[in-house]
Amino acid sequence: MKNMKPLTRGLALLLVGLVVGYGLGLGLHLLAAGRVNFTASSAGLFSLLIGVILFFYGLLGYRTTTRALVWQTVGTLLGALFVTGIRAVMGLNLIDANYIFTEPAWVFGGLVGVVSFVLGHGVADDWIKMARGQDVPEHRADAPGWEKFYGPSLDHKVIGIQYTVTALILLIVGGTFALIFRTELAQSGLQFLTTNFKLFNQNGLQFYNSLMSLHGMIMIVSILLGIAGLMNYLVPLLIGAHDMAFPRLNAFSFWIAPPAAVLLLASLILGGFDTGWTGYPPLSAKAPIGMQMFFLGVFVAGWSSILGGLNLIATVVRMRARGMTAFRMPIFVWASIATSIISLTATQLIGLSFQLVMFQRLFGMGFFDPGKGGNPVLFQHLFWFYSHPAVYVFILPGLGVVSELLPVFVRKPLFGYRWIAMSSLGIALVGFLVWAHHMFTSGMNEYLRVPFMYSTLLVAVPTGVKFFSWVATIWNGKIETPTPMLFVLGAVVVFLMGGLSGPPNATVSTDLHLHDTYWIVGHFHDTLFGGFVFPFFAALYYWFPKATGRRMNETLGKWHFWLMTPSFFVLSLGMMRIGLLGMRRRIADYDPLQGFDATHLVLTIAAFAIALSVLIFIINLVTSLKRGEPAAGNLWNSRSPEWQVSSPLPAHNYDAPFEVVGEPYDYGLPGSKYVEFAKK
């Protein structure tokens, strides 16, 4: 084992762990339930946990991430045992035949596990020392090489990459879930997710619902981490700061996300849940234990968002370079500010709404139980108060990337810079007043629907400003189309489709037909692909050389684009088509008499084509890390400060501070400069 490469050793130990954990879980289930069940939840849980822990042990030895996962596992077990002990004193039942521990034990254990992860990882060590009155160094040097990515690095660029890679991993997990249920949907009738299917204490239908629900939330967390990655990596570089305002808080904000992801994935294994990512009670009040793991996971992931937003606002307000007045900030910074205002102030509401259902389940508090004077519709108000603004959190940074990259590739100033900057803020603020358009059929007060229709349609105005300004930027430019620009153009058109399919949902009378159909599914996949996925890939192709000093392969990049874009159009337009004709959301099977079989088959093929294109991207990413063409200079001929120095940047970024002496996007203005570096 000793002379193997770390990755090979990790993979070998992964296999060992999967088998050992499976045996252990099987045995525990036998003890708890008195019978053998080869697809038991405990077998799956222990198999995966021990497998992953041994993988990291092989990779890193017993430190940082490995230790964190061990502590999370042990913490969860101890927390669960603690509650089980209390239950023993109270004379309540101690064992659940299917999940070993009872629900309260799992919830408390999950919470203790998250805290244990953070303590075990070491990301909070400095704070603990400070609390004890011990000295901590102002800066902490990172381990050399790739190992720093597993540890509590304080460098915003390392943290940005940690976020981005975690986002990509979750993108693959969430995408795989989609492929599984998309395969089931290829044909009407149940093919493999049938009632005879048994896994993790779920039959095929229940497993379908769990996968569908988790696809939603895993993708949302992936997007939140993806935009956090972009903002973390880019904003300090763009404003000339040496790091984020609070580097330790920054590291903490990232490292709270992996234990949340563990909880979300555990929800699938602990019985799953069948509510969709929205978790509406009373259905969520009745769902299996997986529901609680899901609530807890989202609750914890929310901290990452809130603290990240706080850090980013403080950074932009306090740490801009000399001369960088508000209207000389790069446009991506404006988008990041708008996004961070939402994530700082609205995320609490989804945490709260989920917490109330958790308490309803644990303590019998009937917040949403009509039998106890509660109201199920109240949950929807609380939930959407975050979850609608959240979609602007997802898309605003992506739209910022579009605005940032367009001028570089058309060699013209960004048309109407101030208007685009203000439109981001406008979208963010109007976004707070539109949540109830998700509830036009919910049975809320009938008259409330009209003001929410007006406020929702208003969002079209600032969004329109962006589109018109983009077109005016491109108009008469000298347009080049390397891979990042292709993805930017893809983003504009796909987001346009998402934008245009929005107003019919905002208009109450048409929404009565459209609500909860595949039309909506197509609509929001358009907004999220156009507002996040396409710009995210554009940003990765564009800034990869900045982070690594090498560029990604153009040919593979074009394959990625030209495979993904048409496939995505087929997917989203096909979804909208059958949605209008009567295909409901979130169904495991559909009525063959509706005649959707052929379309669904095409949709499934398109989904696999998108997966293949992402696979091409991953291959490109991994091979370019080592073998990509070296690109240390100003590859895209950009005016932005980060491209004026050679790639990759060292810790604390620029050797000498820069001063802003011009406008950011004055392409075509001879002799103009955006920044000037101080002489060393």
């Binding site: 035949a97 009632t195 204490n201 039959n203 239908l205 229940q206 969709g276 009373p282 259905l283 009745k286 039998g371 109201n375 060699r411 013209k412 048309f415 810079y417 059929t441 049975g443 629907r449 009209v450 229709m453 007006y454 349609l457 208003l458 105005v461 329109g464 400003v465 005016a472 108009w475 008469n476 000298k478 347009i479 080049e480 153009l489 504009v492 058109v493 346009l496 489709m497 245009l500 107003p503 019919p504 109450v508 009378s509 048409t510 009565l512 037909h513 609500h515 909860d516 159909t517 088509r577 004709l581 009567g582 409901r584 959301r585 169904i587 099977d589 559909y590 004055d666 075509g668 203005l669």
Partner: protein, 338 residues
């Protein structure tokens, strides 16, 4: 200037092509209610939708055509490394494309509100049907005629007022051909008004995720001429009065959604099948075996969690409010399932 003229013409052409193309494909299912209406019936949902399609087609062309045109006409020529013309912006243009969309969306919101008013218009003579939704079935009670059915039968051109209640979680009443949709929230009655206009057989499809078998929560909706509807009503009334116990039992299991989980043909669903159940030996999850007789079946209906059949660990059957006579009728029906 030449560029603007060409693009202007192309935008108009593309918008027209998109709109008429979409119209020719036919985007909506057949319209079967006054609320759905038609593109020419002012205030109806299909009228509103048609306006939306016009707006979508125009805006799509307005953005995509200049974009494609720029990509082709203004592309960078080989060997050209210079920057493009320095144009920072144009405040008058920005104000224009803020103000015009602002008034457009206000106009659309106004028309949307007008259309909502039309869709909600009340006919005091509407026929009341009490709808009960449960995991995973629909049941319709006609208080005027004293009948209960798992099919919704309605006459054409008479407004129906659906008073809807849920027995467990949130469901949503949606017949795509009627367009309108309304959630059914536990603990209260929600209402929906529909005026069917086209005779035919449709399906009500639950639109709000309601758990494991949400996909199968569909029920027949029959719209027929007034005379046929009256005939159906009297047939149902006669059936309810004179039917033997097993027929009443069959109606009960259909109306209460039992068949969402229990098959009558031996198929394994969420719960055990009923085929050949009566009188058989049933293995329970605690390892014991019982005979499925009247006493066992009565207990299983009244108290679903008392005993659980081996292999069906997930306990989800609700307690359904049934009288002893109802249960006796259901057992009579079970006896016929050999």
């Amino acid at each position: 200037m030449r560029h603007f003229v060409i693009v202007g013409v192309l935008v108009i052409l593309a918008a027209a092509l998109t709109y008429f193309g979409l119209d020719a494909i036919g985007l909506m299912p057949v319209s079967a209610s006054a609320q759905a209406g038609s593109p020419t019936q002012v205030g109806s949902i299909d009228w509103m939708w048609n306006l939306q399609v016009i707006a979508m087609s125009f805006l799509f062309a307005l953005i995509v055509i200049p974009l494609l045109y720029s990509l082709i006409v203004f592309r960078r020529r080989k060997g050209d490394t210079t920057d493009a013309e320095y144009i920072e912006g144009n405040t008058a243009l920005e104000i224009t494309w803020t103000i015009i969309p602002l008034f457009t969306v206000i106009a659309f919101a106004y028309m949307g509100a007008y259309s909502l008013g039309k869709v909600r218009s009340v006919d005091p003579q509407a026929m009341v049907v009490n709808v009960t939704a449960s995991q995973w079935a629909w049941s319709f009670e006609y208080p005027d005629y004293g009948i209960v059915s798992n099919e919704l039968h309605v006459p054409v051109d008479r407004q129906v007022l659906l008073r809807m209640q849920s027995r467990d979680v949130i469901h949503s009443f949606w017949v795509p051909e009627f367009r309108v949709k309304q959630d059914i929230v536990p603990g209260r009655v929600t209402e929906l008004r529909v005026t069917p206009t086209l005779a035919g057989t449709y399906k009500v499809r639950c639109a709000e995720l309601c758990g494991t078998s949400h996909f199968s929560m569909e029920g027949p909706v029959v719209v027929s001429a007034e005379a046929e509807f009256a005939a159906w009503v009297s047939e149902q009334q006669a059936l309810a009065a004179t039917a033997p116990p097993e027929i009443k039992g069959e109606a009960l299991v259909k109306a209460n959604g039992c068949l969402g989980c229990h098959s009558v043909d031996g198929t394994r669903l969420i719960g055990p099948t009923w085929r050949g159940l009566f009188g058989s030996q049933v293995q329970l999850s605690d390892g014991s075996t019982v005979t499925a007789d009247e006493a066992f079946l009565t207990e299983s209906i009244k108290e679903p969690s008392a005993t659980i059949v081996a292999g069906f660990e997930t306990q989800i059957m609700p307690v359904v409010p049934l009288t002893d006579e109802d249960i006796a009728n259901i057992i009579a029906y079970l006896k016929t399932l050999k």
